[in-house]
């Protein structure tokens, strides 16, 4: 069987996969839209309880990590393999920062007794319950994607090291990058929806 080296095909495949991710989150965005429509006041009140500082910090981290990723690919295309490797590591490091941040944010909330099915949550008005449930689900699902994205990028880094991703054959890294940008993209919406639209 001859080796497939169809870049365009690989990219089409990756984009198609990204669509499935978009629609996976899409279902949750749909729920968010409907519940925001139904409980504007409660969403307003509950949103105030989320830390805007954490949110903004994480936005900056994630956007910057996206930049690193884009730079890493440009660097690789120009043949600067080592630079590219470092940029990928930097991207992953920022993914780590994002997760640590998220961890503190979640623990603070959980420390206040607000988590799905918690007694404190069940005492809140229905709209706020919905808000927090959505918050945990959507940021949780996003967090899982951050972890997967980080892992994929680390693997890309490894492939660069062993010379299987090269300035000539970099489609793996490019697709990994696409995935990472998608993770960023989702957060770009989550951020205003949970921390700002209040």
């Amino acid at each position: 069987m001859h080796e497939h080296r169809d870049y365009e095909g690989a990219k089409i495949g990756m984009w198609l996969f990204l669509f499935t991710e978009v629609l996976l989150f899409g279902g949750l965005f749909l729920l968010y839209a409907v519940y925001l429509h139904r409980y504007p006041a409660e969403f307003h009140a509950a949103g105030k309880d989320l830390s805007r500082i954490f949110g903004t910090a994480n936005t900056i981290v994630l956007i910057t990590s996206s930049l690193c990723m884009a730079l890493a690919i440009s660097a690789l295309q120009r043949g600067k393999v080592v630079l590219s490797q470092r940029l990928v590591l930097l991207t992953v490091a920022m993914a780590g920062v994002f997760l640590v941040n998220k961890f503190f944010e979640w623990s603070a909330k959980i420390g206040h007794g607000i988590y799905p099915d918690s007694p404190a949550l069940l005492k809140l008005p229905p709209g706020e319950m919905v808000f927090f449930n959505l918050y945990y689900l959507m940021t949780g699902l996003h967090g899982i994607h951050v972890i997967i994205g980080g892992a994929v990028l680390m693997y890309g880094w490894h492939l660069m090291r062993v010379g299987r991703v090269t300035p000539e054959h970099f489609v793996f890294l490019e697709n990994g990058g696409l995935y990472w940008h998608l993770v960023d993209l989702v957060w770009i919406y989550l951020f205003p929806l949970f921390y700002l639209v209040v």
Binding site: H4, R5, D6, Y7, E8, G9, K11, I12, W15, L16, F19, V22, L23, G26, F29, L30, A33, V34, L36, H37, R38, R52, T56, T59, I60, I63, T64, S66, L67, M69, A70, L71, I73, S74, Q77, R78, V171, E174, G177, L178, H181, L182, D184, L185, I188, Y189, F191, P192, L193, L196, V197, V198
Partner: protein, 112 residues
């Protein structure tokens, strides 16, 4: 049926070798930096405007900014600008379907 050969972007010899090198176009560092700066600026704006209350427009503003940011990421970071018609059309379709799914649902929830 003798089909009229419609010219498709990948051309009549759409074999695996017909790669047109869109993806190999390296985005200049400067462009990436500019995009990043724009994203940061938009983040600042969207956080900044929350101190004003536009009522119902709050959501509209926040989502418009987010969509602009998303556009920047998709077009430059994700290289969609440099891709061929096929991929662009595909991305468009996917988002249209999502918009339809959310939009049509509102025929229910908005009128209940």
């Amino acid at each position: 049926m003798t089909g009229h050969d419609i010219k498709y972007d990948t051309g009549p010899d759409a074999g695996p070798d017909a790669v047109h090198d869109a993806g190999h176009h390296a985005v200049p560092v400067r462009t990436n930096m500019l995009v990043w700066a724009a994203l940061m600026l938009l983040t600042a704006i969207t956080v900044g405007v929350t101190s004003f209350d536009f009522g119902f427009l709050n959501v509209v503003v926040a989502l418009s900014v987010a969509t602009t940011k998303a556009g920047l990421v998709i077009l430059w970071f994700m290289h969609l600008r440099y891709e061929g018609r096929v991929i662009r059309l595909m991305v468009f379709t996917a988002f249209v379907i999502l918009a339809i799914a959310i939009g049509l649902t509102f025929f229910d929830v908005a009128y209940r």
